[in-house]
Amino acid sequence: MASRLLEVEDLTTEFRRDGGSVKAVSGINFHINKGEVLGLVGESGCGKSVTSLSIMRLLKDTPGRIAGGAVRFEGTDLTRIQEKEMRKFRGNELAMIFQEPMTSLNPVLRIGRQLEEPIMLHLGYSRKRAREHAIHMLKQVGIPRAEDVVDEYPHQLSGGMRQRVMIAMAMSCGPKLLIADEPTTALDVTIQAQILDLMKRLKEEQDMGMLLITHDLGVVAEMCDRVVVMYAGRVVEEASVKDLFENPQHPYTRGLIQSVPKLRQKVRRLASIQGNVPDLSAMPPGCKFAPRCAHVMQQCLEREPELLPVAGQTERTSRCWLTQTDKAEGGEDDGRYTAG
């Protein structure tokens, strides 16, 4: 087995809401190996971003808090260390880039100043040396006139350029894990491809692990080694990128793949998954996907299936009664389910 960079175990994140609390992420498990790109896929509101913010412990100023589980980064449980210790990881070995390049940079500080911050903090460079390093990083991410750009302000750059700056900032201390939350969603299609190529190149050069959060299966196919599919705060399927596209197990995954428009197929209507993500405070009792599932059975409405290995395949799991029982109708196999 390849060595583990990040292990997320039973991570649960709760949000206070109307006096009570709801679980935005409820007991998820996944891991990332060194140098591996893991895709985290799902619809809006499925808990992808909350997962990334939980790993970074950036839930401050949100009503959320980590309610249980562990996030082990090279063996250190990030949920248990002091905030002061956590700050040494952030921007250093653990870096993050966000969805909104237009608003993720401080409008009143020069680009160079913002880039120098983590470099001076984590690498202990002087201002002068940090500036040189910042210029070097800007060149690395393909920004022309890097020497001038360090003295410019964010509003003088385009969205694609700003995302490059964000990437340069995240990469500046040589992180072992980069968390990218929808890094290309807000960008034009041509710029998207450039940014993805850049991230791929940098990842290869630095042998860095990456958690890529996206709802775009095209990006997943392009970038990822393995994929975790999330639905309603749970992992519903995990597979290698090849297996996922060739043989999706969970009906939700199949729905996602089918709803990607294909060029050669002429269809009157685009396929879509009926219905909406359930409200976190009013979850169905059984499988959370049951109300929208085309293959729903009686037991799906009663009990939630666990995330279990798919029969006959390694490194693959699915949270569906259909993939866990030999007979699709199920019901006779309760013993195995409770034991598993």
Binding site: R87, G91, N106, P107, V108, H155, Q156
Partner: protein, 308 residues
């Protein structure tokens, strides 16, 4: 920045023109005949006409305005109807106490207001927030003249720490500027709290934290400057209240400043002095807002660069 500053400076010229016309018209808006007023009740018609010609009030309005402006640009604000002294001399002798009072008030109000607002925002819904906002509400609700009298009663009469009035030393200005600044400090505290809370929700704050920066740096370097842009605007507008408030505070603490001069001049119908004070207050207000505009440019690179 240079071009932006020039634009702002040039923008002041038409504004000053409008102000000068309004102030000039003031003497003609008073009910009754200024010449008759100057001449006094016992004057004959001939005397009144003589004074009218002497004051230039028999000339067409535009000629009067031109000669008024001509005198104004030479620093001649006329003579007081009451004392016969040059108005400009009267203003100069009264200017210093008012300037010290206003800027001391604005200074402490800005510093304490920002501090309370920031601490409240950072500790939202915790005890520093409650204490800060209670202070702010009290500051807004308490009438200035009452606060002034209470301060005199406690700190001057009973404790004897500060004089009850006058301008003998720097100590004399402490109580008046607390009185004058309390309202503005409170407004600024409340405003900077809400502005700070808004800024703390911005994406770049999360970026700052994701870099591993300490919370003090995130707030001080990344949030404060952005929320200052909004606070500065309010501070500039509040300056108008300071000018109004100084009239009251100078009366309560018997400070020989411009506010007291205004009150005295109104009760003696000393129109030339009132006219000059109007012009001075309006100019001050315009100047402060010019400074606010320039600060805007300093704080916000978008404005600085958009016009260059």
């Amino acid at each position: 920045m240079g071009r932006y500053a020039l634009q702002r400076l040039l923008g002041v010229i038409p504004l000053m023109f409008v102000v000068s016309v309004l102030v000039f018209m003031f003497i003609h808006l008073i009910p009754g005949d200024p010449a008759r007023l100057v001449a006094g009740k016992e004057a004959t018609l001939e005397e009144i006409n003589g004074i009218r010609a002497q004051l230039g009030l028999d000339l067409p309005l535009w000629q009067q305005y031109l000669s008024y402006m001509g005198r104004l640009l030479h620093g001649d604000l006329g003579t007081s109807l009451r004392s016969g002294l040059p108005v400009s001399d009267m203003l100069m002798s009264r200017l210093t106490p008012t300037l010290i009072l206003t800027f001391m008030s604005l200074g402490w109000a800005l510093i304490i207001g920002l501090l309370i607002g920031t601490l409240s925002a950072v500790n939202r819904n915790k005890w520093p927030d409650y204490v800060g906002m209670l202070t702010a509400i009290s500051g807004i609700s308490v009438p200035g003249f009452w606060l002034g009298l209470v301060l005199i009663q406690i700190f001057s009469v009973q404790l004897g720490w500060f004089p009850t009035g006058g301008v003998d030393s720097w100590k004399s200005y402490i109580l008046p500027s607390i009185t004058l600044g309390a309202g503005i400090m409170s407004m600024l505290a409340r405003f900077s709290r809400s502005s700070m809370l808004e800024t703390m929700r911005e994406d770049y704050i999360r970026t700052g934290r994701s870099k591993g920066l300490r919370e003090v740096i995130v707030v001080g370097r990344h949030a404060l400057r952005n929320s200052l842009i909004q606070v500065v605007t309010v501070a500039g507008l509040q300056f108008g209240f300071l000018l109004g408030g100084s009239v009251m505070v100078e009366t309560v603490f018997s400070i020989p400043g411009l506010g007291r001069l205004l009150v005295d001049s109104i009760s003696f119908r000393d129109y030339t002095v009132i006219q000059a004070l109007l012009l001075l207050f309006a100019t001050q207000f315009i100047l402060i807002n010019l400074i606010v505009d320039l600060l805007y440019g300093v704080l916000n690179p978008k404005i600085r660069y958009a016009s260059s």
